[in-house]
Symmetry: C2
Subunit: 497 residues, 2 copies
């Protein structure tokens, strides 16, 4: 019970302060407890199961479960049902595909570990859209090359969520029971900011009495170093159409008189930024919390791999507000990115001498505590209206897609248990890091179920999440199962002590 009390006290203090000042995320010195759980037989079991696991992953990756594209609505159901079927097969007590106002959530529990805590494991089966012509292999066909599986969702997060499922399958096959009670929650709208997740939690609270939670949509620092995230940024998506005429116009006959939607869109986009690469939207930074001392300290401990960006993106160029270091900007400062723009004559070949009547712009902001997604969206709309050249009509498309930023304490039993396990698996303590990405559901779990969902994932940062040619390393699928095996055993052994 000791941990539970500490955790409860922590919650109280955090609830009181969360919206006021930064959570102190780094509690030094952290000491990993020694774990003596023999994983050798389990590792052999996983090795033997690998061909079957990769066949299953290929089946799962084949389903184009792109949550933000309405045409894939049925694929979302297919993916959810595929998952539910798998969970039933491995012997979970109860498995449901739960409808929401959007895409379904897959719920599955195992509750026969009397007297043991209940562990929530979060993941998501939806994926980002693809630009198919930029993929070297078909995005919805699992292609194995160089000990990697290439496909949309291979890492983010179909590969990620299968790891704990297979770990649990392995334990149940070998031992017929689990060391803890378990709840899997697999989200179908993570890539949309999980707009229906909170209501699901509120409606099904009685099913969701959990003691601690982990996020299978997390990352290693690298092959040899584990990582636990101390914060995530939030996310909003905005789309607008800049319209200057109800048709494209002949650039000779009208050029010099009729407004050009592409020019107007460019002027609007350019107006978002100051010359020194800050965001120029009024009040955008008003609620941004300064970095805490411990966050600054944490960043100093993260090794800098100068070759990483060059390897991942082919560039070492950096942008953004020079008043902050790159990791400060990536983790604790908000952004406004243009994610897509199109209008006029956009076919690959040829040219058309027109004045575009309409151009579309898509934006994504990564928000940080204590920014509010609804407010930021409103500020952007106000800015666009104010900075639209004359003759321009701007129409917004509402996504109602907001992930809230979240910070985690580097203390408490759920944190410490994960810390111990990662230190054991990697034979050295994990790095505390943060991530500029967003998982809206984690905030909902904290608010409704009262627990922090610590990252416990084995993807790596170079695996092209959201980009063409996403992949996952087969070795990490193995390593992840071992880590989840140790985690569930360790919680079963140590919780409440």
């Amino acid at each position: 019970m000791k941990y539970r009390l500490i955790l409860f006290a922590l919650h109280l203090s955090l609830l009181a302060s969360a919206q006021k000042k930064p959570v102190d995320t780094v509690n030094n010195p952290l000491v990993a407890r020694r774990i003596t759980i023999d994983t050798r037989e389990f590792e052999t079991f996983v090795k033997d199961a690998q061909p079957q696991q990769l066949r299953e992953l290929a089946e799962f990756l084949k389903i184009p479960s792109v949550s933000s594209v309405p045409a894939h609505k049925n694929d979302m159901v297919t993916a959810a049902e595929w998952l539910a079927k798998k969970l039933k097969t491995i012997g979970m007590t109860q498995t449901e595909v739960v409808a929401t106002a959007g895409h379904p959530i897959v719920f599955s529990k195992w509750n026969k570990a009397t007297g043991k805590p209940t562990v929530l494991i979060y993941g998501h089966y939806d994926v980002q859209p693809v630009k198919e012509n930029e993929w070297k292999t078909p995005p919805f066909v699992a292609t194995t090359s160089n000990e990697r599986i290439y496909a949309r969702g291979a890492a983010d997060d179909k590969g990620g969520l299968m790891i704990p499922i297979w770990a649990v399958e392995g334990i149940l096959k070998r031992e017929s029971s689990l060391p803890v009670n378990l709840v899997f929650l697999f989200d179908g709208e993570e890539e949309k900011g999980s707009p229906n997740f909170k209501k699901f939690l509120q409606t099904h609270q009685s099913l969701l009495k959990v003691d601690l939670a982990y996020n299978a949509d997390g990352m290693q620092f690298n092959d040899s170093t584990g990582s636990i995230w101390m914060s995530l940024r939030g996310s909003i998506a905005v789309e607008f159409e800049v319209r200057t005429a109800n048709t494209d116009a002949h650039s000779g006959i009208y050029g010099g008189k009729t407004p050009n939607a592409a020019k107007a869109a460019a002027q609007i986009i350019a107006s978002f930024y100051t010359p020194d690469d800050k965001i120029a939207i009024e009040h955008f930074y008003d609620r941004v919390l300064p970095l805490s001392k411990s966050e600054q300290t944490m960043i100093t401990k993260v090794p800098n791999d100068e070759k990483k960006d060059k390897n991942d993106l082919g560039t070492t160029a950096e942008t953004g507000d020079a008043a902050f270091s790159p990791l400060e900007r990536l983790w604790y400062r908000p952004t406004l990115e243009v994610t897509g723009v199109w209008g006029g004559y956009t076919a690959e070949e040829g040219f058309a001498n027109i004045i575009p009547g309409s151009v579309h712009v898509r934006l994504n902001c990564r928000t940080v505590a204590d920014q509010n997604g609804v407010e930021i969206t409103r500020l952007i709309k106000q800015h666009v209206s104010k900075h639209s050249p004359k003759g321009v009509t701007v129409t917004f498309k509402d996504f109602e897609s907001y992930s809230t930023p979240i910070k985690f304490p580097a203390a408490g039993a759920p944190f410490q248990l994960a810390y111990d396990v990662l230190a054991t698996v990697y034979k050295k303590p994990p790095l505390l890091t943060a991530i500029g990405g967003s998982i809206g559901a984690l905030t909902d779990i904290k608010e409704v179920l009262g627990v922090y969902t610590y990252s416990f994932g084995f993807q790596q940062g170079d695996e092209n999440f959201h980009a063409p040619n996403e992949f996952v390393r087969i070795a990490d699928i193995e390593k992840g199962q071992k880590a989840y095996y140790v985690l569930l055993k360790h919680i079963g052994n140590e919780w409440g002590k």
Copy 2:
């Protein structure tokens, strides 16, 4: 011979001054000579031929002869051959599809009018690309609605060039001979700036001894008013790719650090313009000639239809340098238009939280005397290089597509004859106007063959040239044939008197 001498004198003086000071395009007062040519029987003939003519036009419009798109190379040949076959059928003396370094030129002559002048008629069978999803009817299917034919090229210029062909067919059918000698030249690269036209003229000068020339790619002022263009602008096309990374990047993991190609492209585009809507490219205006007194006078005589833009484009908004009136800007001032922009996630539905690694931008400038297309292209490239944010690589695609601006004298026999005819057909004198569009071949004809090609066309400005849902009015096809009938007869009667 009187006109020929006047014309020759004019040429000499214009050749001497053309690149130095504006041509005086308005010679007031102009007086239309009375023409007594009975058109009643010919009009009946045209009426009877209309069903067959519209079937032919539909055949022609079905061929997607988009010159700027390499995939349509074979369609260009098909269209040229379709035209040549038609010209052979109507009884032209010699018809050839002449290969060029680009798309072919269709040459056709009739030379049995001994002692009569030779008239060149110019038109083009290539068309602009289409954005098919913005068309209400399929762009390469002629659809009749409300006494209009809808299809790409219906007005610009397949419908346009068929008018003189049908007029000639009618005369030859009824009279077995023409009142003048004739050369048709149908360009396959007008929409690309006719890059191979000049060389064709130079190579075939012996075939091309012509006395006067008319352009079937012209326009009426409106249903009840004819028009002759006193100038056209030139045109250049530029395309470039803005690249910041070799892949799109996750907007959470990299956002705040990695440059965004869409932001960079927007900043580059915005840098093209000053706050007061001039073009900010250094030396862009250096060679621009001021409007002449007669050009200013001409503009004051053009009635302003306030509803026109509202009807055509759904907007009354105006852009551009306020130091000039709208018609001054449209006709005598240069432009820089973004004709297309695309990058990042551009699918119609959904959103992807990425930082685009690459964005494409297409530009079109309308140039005016004495700007030089090659020089303007170079200035744009220099500007883009200078204004590219750090971390950006810009790659240009060369179109080698330049139309040179041209001005016409409002005097001389070829002008006066057209003026007389339009005054007769419309029962009032035509308006002298200019056009902001470009027909590069007209400059070539002047330079190589020594004649001005006066516009003699019956399209109208609201017919969506270059835009979706292009159309031509059936009544104008009839009217145009009558006008060409009178023109050829009138030249036959009056030339040399």
